[in-house]
Amino acid sequence: MRARTRTLTGVLAAAALVAAGCSPTTDDSGGDDQETRTQSGSISYEAADNQGPAKAVDGATRGGTLTVMQPTDFEHLDPARNYVNVQQVAGGMLYRALNGYKEDGSGKLLLVGDLATNPGKDVNGDCKVWEFTLRDGVKYEDGSPVTSKDVAHGIARSFASNLNEGPHYIQQWLYPGGTYNATYKGPYDGGKPVPDGVETPDDRTVRFTFPQAHCDLPYAAALPTSAPVPAAKDTRAGYDLRPFSSGPYKVKSYQRDVALELDRNPNWDPATDPIRTAYPDTIRMTFGLEQAQIAERLVADGAADQAALSWTDVPPSVLPRTTGAGVADRVVKGPTQYNWVLNINTQRVTDLSVRRALNYAVDKDALLKVLGGQAAGTPATTLMSPTTAGFSKYDLFNAPVTGDKAKVTELLAGKRPKLVLAHSSLELRTQQAEALRKNLTDMGFDIVMKPIDNSSYYDEVGRKDNPYDIYLSGWGSDWPTGSTVIPPVYDGREIVAEGNQNLSYLDEPSVSAEIDRVRNLPAAEQDAGWMALDRKIMEEYAPVVPCYYDATYELHGSKVGNAFLSDAFGIISLNGIYVKQ
């Protein structure tokens, strides 16, 4: 998943000037040290986990209106185009994919069947043929039943070139080699109604047949592209504004960039849904407020905002005001699946000792404090985030968090490399880059700062022949295993002319070969395999400097109940949320 759009926009806070506190700011900012939770993610075939209804939340009440305040509107709600975490959580209220994540806020993350009765049957035990059986009694908002044909149509339309923004794992697996939609271009304009390898023998069964083994399919089937779209209701590009509901809510009104209002889908049956409790009667999402305004309003907890929450992080300038009584208990924080690294363009910085020196040099503490310190994350030493299954922490360089000058001097051996540091021109990103410039200059590098407009930042550094040497980027797994971190970001065979995810442009045959080997390991051994490869890449090539494991720090109003951090999405989950009456 591309780095979450952490909106670090410059903000003009219209905040009232509060008399300067007469107490000193202390080193203890009220936040307890975040223990990094390791996702105990697993796929559950237990009947108890897979059966609806979802377990009732203690003390929860039905009814009320929940408000979600967001700085910007969702780019896409169409399940075929939905690839950003906030959109996926919002979309999860409207449509149900084959699988889904069942969470209760304790850190336990279970992948269970959502539309399907279980997370997928590996028919031959070789991970090549997978079968899903849909639940009985799942209905659309107009009362018609959800059929397997609709799931197949949903997948078919995700091949269309104008609906291409979503994840393309299943699509790529169906047509391996080349671009995912080079052969099959969707059901429109005379295309086949379903792609090769997708069959619907009856109204309740979907069968996938892949040329290669893909033991990760249950996870890929939790992505929104497997949500059902009835062909009769498919409005193609227009579907973005009005997805046809198969979930607990339906679109009541949607005014782009202003508000999206959801009310109940009367035909949703809680007995068919093991994941969602759907307590609020309506969910209202509003767009357009600044990040700091949202945070200030949630801190103030005025009557209108008590049943509100936001998926945007509290900006650093508001953080100190979230530790007081009455606010601190409304903070939802914790690690997310995103990991921020300083990419070293290995096409330009070919000297391994320089890359290692950078690993000793970077002051991760300074990078974090610009963004709000512990609220923004914890220093990283690995490529995968601690939320990945099978994660085991290692620290190859064992440098202090502020850097190890002696080691850097030793590795550079009298050289003073000139490096071009590209950064987004957003205020906080610029400050972060300046912190890095100062830090690396002191450590013995010559740094040139190049600001890039934020909207084209990833496009610019994603160009293979970009002129920059080092640049920060964040990457989060699409599901909590290493298979959506290491292969997309460190496999040299994935490098294309533009739009790369492999931003260090590491192209090592030994890494690629190892990726293939781990992919073909039995499912149980893969997690350890990815972790070992993570370490091998850092040890032998050091293509990046792991900087910090991203953390989220969100606020909700005092009347929001059971707001917890979703480990699958890294933001407040809506699945068990309720409005206190």
Partner: protein
């Protein structure tokens, strides 16, 4: 930048050569005899200015500001702190300065910036340097262009005058901010490759040039009017009859008579440039990191107004005092140069 073209009204100074008859009456009455001292209009203006307490206070403020800005490296050596030094260890887990009042301590007299941990005092004095330099240099450039164009238009008459007037109208109508947004990044890319950072001097020069290019119109109009009213005067005729060339008449006869209003416009232009330079930081085309800049500092600090008001206070107060002092001095200057204006 339409506001630049509408400074406070400015009436023409007294007739040249026809300065008021002497009004100064030393301390002579008690001595029983009236002593007449001949003073030029400039001397009179200077006397009036010296008597103005507001002007004195403003001037002192400005001199202090300029001295502080010039002495910034000295302060840096004295404290042993570079403006880009980061004291991250003095920030807490949220990136807020530890201690009272934004981390004010014996080492950091005005505290530390939250997030980056830079010393506010050093950032401030170095930022003051950048801001004052840009403001003064821009005012100088704008005035030079304005005077040259104004004298040309006023003296030339005919079609050249029309063309210049038309050019002034065009410049006034041109949206300054959009121009700056479009041109500054393009020029930067033109002169520097992908792997070079524009030098701070280049960036500052660009800003000065942009300001100069858009702010000469008011001076030009003023000077043109003055030249038109003076060029038919007897002393000009006399000079011409005595065989003086155009250059002599323009530089030696006319210019000395119009420097006073020019001085006033300069004194009013400087604070405007300081404020606009600060505003440029808000749209990311001002001076960039790591060059310290007062405007950008204010921009960054505004978000912290509730959580660390000290960070907002010091740069805000500095720019407030600076702009106020300049404006008051400009007003006082105008009053002293034009005794007929009402106070």
């Amino acid at each position: 930048m339409s506001d630049l073209s509408h400074p406070p009204s400015l009436t023409a100074p007294g007739d040249p050569g026809a300065g008021e008859p002497v009004v100064e009456s030393g301390n002579g009455l008690s001595a029983g005899r009236r002593e007449f001292v001949g003073r030029s209009p400039n001397q009179l203006a200077w006397l009036r200015l010296k008597r103005d307490r507001t002007a004195r206070a403003s001037a002192v403020t400005l001199v202090v500001a300029v001295l502080v800005a010039l002495g910034a490296p000295l302060l840096s050596r004295l404290t042993g702190i570079d403006p880009t030094d980061k004291f991250v260890d003095r920030l807490n887990d949220f990136g807020m300065p530890i201690g009272y009042a934004g981390g004010i301590s014996a080492d950091h007299w005005l505290g530390l910036e939250p997030g980056s941990g830079r010393d506010i005092l050093l950032q401030l004095v170095y930022g003051l340097r950048t801001s004052l330099f840009i403001a003064f240099a821009s005012a100088a450039v704008a005035s030079c262009i304005g005077v040259a164009v104004g004298v040309l238009a006023g003296w030339a008459r005919g079609w050249l005058d029309s063309v210049v007037n038309w050019l002034i109208d065009l410049t006034l109508a041109f949206p300054f901010l959009i121009f700056a947004l479009a041109v500054i990044p393009i020029l930067q890319d033109r002169f520097y490759t992908d792997r070079e950072a524009p030098s701070p001097a280049f960036r500052v020069a660009l800003i000065v040039a942009t300001f100069g290019l858009f702010s000469w119109t008011y001076t030009a109009r003023l000077v043109r009017g003055q030249v038109i009213s003076l060029r038919e005067r007897e002393f000009v005729d006399a000079a011409r009859a005595a065989g003086a060339g155009t250059g002599h008449i323009l530089l030696r006869q006319l210019l000395p008579n119009i420097w006073a209003p020019i001085l006033v416009t300069v004194s009013l232009m400087v604070p405007q440039f300081i404020a606009i330079e600060a505003a440029l930081a808000f749209v990311n085309i001002g001076v960039t990191e790591p060059t310290p800049d007062l405007g950008r500092m204010i921009f960054n600090s505004i978000g912290y107004v509730a959580s660390d008001p000290w960070y907002t206070l010091f740069p805000g107060l500095t720019i407030f005092l600076l702009v106020l002092a300049f404006n008051l001095l400009g007003d006082a200057l105008r009053d002293s140069l034009d005794p007929r204006s009402t106070r």
